[in-house]
Amino acid sequence: MPRKHGNSLLELTDRTKRRNAAEARFKAYGIAAIAVGLLMLVVLVTTIFSKGLGAFQQTFITLQVELLEEKLDKNGNRDLDDIKKVTTFGYAPIIRNAVETKVTELGVETPLKGKDMAGLLSKDAAATLREFVIANPDEIGKTVEFRFLAQSRVDGYLKGRVSRDSIENDKNISAEQLDLVDALVAADVIEKTFNLDFILGADASDARPEAAGMGVSMLGSLFMMFVVLALALPIGVAASIYLEEFAPQNWLTDIIEVNISNLAAVPSIVFGILGLAVFINYMHLPTSAPLVGGLVLTLMTLPTIIISTRASLKAVPPSIRDAALGVGASKMQAVFHHVLPLAAPGILTGTIIGLAQALGETAPLLLIGMVGFIASNAPDSIASGLLSPNSAMPAQIYEWAKRADPAFYERAWGGIIILLVFLITMNTLAVILRRRFERRW
C-alpha cells in the first residue's frame, strides 16, 4: 500500500525537495544582499579615506626671515600703532628676501625672479608674518625661523594632485617653479607634515585653500548641539513622561501620538524653511546664528527623543510602578524615583543618537544661512557665541565641495572624515551606554 508521505523516510519526496530548494535560494538571496551592502560600505570607506586623508597633511616651507627694522618700524620706537600701519603688502619684500636668501644659500640655479620664487608660498604667509610681528614687536630686527604654508599648487604637486602636464594652462604655477620645488624638497626646506590647523583652524578665502580648516565650523556645530541638548532633552523627556505615564488614553492623545511619529518622518528641509519663516522672519533672530540652527535642529530631534524615551519608559516593567504605588508613593514619586532612573540609559542612548543625527544635518542649515564665513581662529571665534554668524561642519563641507579649486575638494573629503569620526564616536558611546546599563528582568 503506498504511504501518504513517500515510501520511506530515508528518501525525500518531491515536495520536500522543492521546499528545501526554496529555502536554500532564500538564504542565498540574503547572503547576496548582505555582501552587496558590505561591498558598498568598503567602497565608501576606502573612497572617503583615499580622497580625504590628504587634507590632514599640508606642505610647509621653512624659511629664516630677517625682520628688517627699516621696513617694519621706520621710527624704531616699537610703537604698536606704527607697526600696525604696515599692511601685508609691506611684508611681501621681506618674504621675497627670505626666499631669495634661502635659494642662494642652497646654491640652486633658477631662472625665476624673487617675486615668482615667493609665489611658492601661500598668500597667507604675509598675514602670518604680520600677526607675529604685532604680537612680538621685540623681535623686529632679528632673524626668525618660520614655517610658512606652501600655496595649494605646490601642496598638490607633493600630494600628486598637480603634475607637470596639468599645469600647462595654469597661471598660478609654472614648470620652473616646480623645478625649484623639487630642489627645495631635496634640501628639506619644503616638507609635507601633519597639519593640526586643518582640524582646529578657521575657513579661508577662495585663493588660500591651504589655510582652510574645520575648527570654527566645529565650534558652530558644538554651540548648536548645546542648544539642542538644552532644549530637546528636557522638553522631549517631559513630553514623553506625560504622554506615557499621566495622559489619559483618548482620541486627543492618539492624535498627538500619530503626529509625533509623523514628525519624525518629515524631511529636514521642511524644518529649515519653518525655522526661516518663524525664527528669522517673524522673531527676527539673527541669520547664520548657532542659536537659530540649534532651534531648528531641536524641532528635528524632538520626535526622535520622544519616541526613544517613550520606548524606554514602556520597557520598565509595570511591577516596579505597582511596587512604588503599593507602598504609598504618588504617581510622580513612582515615576521620578523608580521608573525614570531605570529608563535613563535608554533615554540617554536615544538622545545621543538624536544629537548625532542633528550633527550631520545640512539641508535646514542652508535655509537659515548657517554657512557664515568666519576666518578668525580660536579664541576669537569662541567668544563670538550663540548669536553671531557661524557655520556648521556639514555646511562647511558643502561649501568646500562647491568651490572651484580642487584643493578645496580634498578638504571637503577631509571634513567628511572628521564628521564621521564624531558620528561614529557618538554612536559607539550610545552602544556602550546601552550595553553597560542594560537591565534584564
Partner: protein, 265 residues
C-alpha cells in the same frame, strides 16, 4: 506550621477592619465584581479563593484603590476602612496605600539596595526623623519580614540579588515598613518553590498578630493552612464567606463544594 490546619484553628471573632457593601466593579463593559458584601476582621488572615478570572484579585486591588491606575476600571458601592469610605472624594489614594500595604504576585523589589527597598516607604511618608530612627524602622521591618538574619550583613547589596523567596519576604518587609493596618497579598507564593512558600506562610501567620491580612491564593491547601476566614469567589460573585474550617469541611453552597473537591476551577 505543622500544627496549624484548617480543622483545629480556633476562630475568635475580631473587630471589623474593612467592610465592603454592595461593591460592583466594571472593566469597560464587562462586569467583573457583582454586588460583593464582605467584612474583613482585624488580626485575622482572610483568604480569597476561586478559579482564575473569578475577580478575587480585582476585589483585592479595590481595597487599596490600586485599580485607580487602570483607566477603564469603575467601582461602585462602598468600602469602609475603620468606618471611613475609601472611595470618598476626599480620600487621597496615596495616603490610603500607606495604611493598606500590598504584596504582589511576583516579587518586585526595587533595583536598589535591601536597605533602600525597606527605607523607601518610611522616607516618602516622613516616618523617621533621622538616620538612627530609619535604621531602627528598617531593622524592625526586616525582622517582621523574617529575613533580618539572612540579610543583616549585606543591607547595602542589591535587593534583586536575593533568591525568589527572600525577595518576597523583602517585599513583605517593605510593605510593613510604612506601618500599615491592613496587608493585602496577591498570590504571594505563586512564584516561589515549596520551601520558600512554607517560610512565607509561616511569616503570614506571624503577621496576623499585628495586622489584618487579606491573601488571594490559587492553592486551596494554602488557604486552609494560613487563613481563619475564607471567601470563595466565582464568576464575579462572592459565593460563600465564612470560617475557613467550615468552608473546607462543610460548605453551604454546591459551587463551593464542587470547587474545593476539584470538580470546577
Amino acid at each position: 506550621m505543622n500544627d496549624m490546619t484548617a480543622m483545629d484553628s480556633t476562630v475568635e471573632t475580631q473587630r471589623t477592619k474593612i467592610a465592603a457593601n454592595s461593591v460592583n466593579v466594571y472593566y469597560g463593559d464587562s462586569h467583573a465584581i457583582k454586588d460583593v458584601n464582605v467584612e474583613i476582621e482585624d488580626k485575622t488572615v482572610t483568604a480569597f479563593i476561586g478559579p482564575s478570572g473569578c475577580g478575587k484579585s480585582t476585589f483585592l486591588r479595590c481595597l487599596n484603590r490600586m485599580n485607580d491606575t487602570i483607566d477603564i476600571c469603575r467601582v461602585t458601592g462602598d468600602i469602609l476602612l475603620e468606618g471611613e469610605d475609601i472611595y470618598d472624594k476626599r480620600v487621597d489614594p496615596v495616603q490610603l496605600r500607606a495604611q493598606v500595604g500590598m504584596v504582589f504576585q511576583k516579587p518586585n523589589p526595587f533595583p536598589k539596595s535591601i536597605y533602600d527597598n525597606v527605607a523607601y516607604g518610611p522616607r516618602i511618608h516622613g516616618l523617621a526623623k533621622n538616620k538612627a530612627e530609619l535604621d531602627e524602622i528598617v531593622e524592625k521591618s526586616l525582622r517582621r519580614g523574617a529575613i533580618w538574619d539572612e540579610v543583616k550583613d549585606r543591607l547595602h547589596s542589591p535587593g534583586t540579588g536575593l533568591s525568589g523567596g527572600q525577595q518576597q519576604r523583602l517585599c513583605i518587609a517593605r510593605a510593613v515598613a510604612t506601618e500599615p493596618e491592613v496587608l493585602l497579598m496577591d498570590e504571594p507564593c505563586s512564584a516561589l518553590d515549596p520551601i520558600a512558600t512554607a517560610q512565607v506562610e509561616e511569616l503570614i501567620d506571624e503577621l496576623r498578630e499585628n495586622y489584618s491580612v487579606v491573601i488571594v491564593t490559587h492553592s486551596m491547601q494554602q488557604a486552609a493552612r494560613v487563613s481563619q476566614k475564607t471567601a470563595f469567589f466565582h464568576l464575579g460573585n462572592l459565593v460563600e464567606f465564612g470560617p475557613t474550617g467550615q468552608i473546607f469541611t462543610n460548605p453551604e453552597d454546591p459551587r463551593t463544594e464542587s470547587y474545593i473537591t476539584g470538580r470546577i476551577g
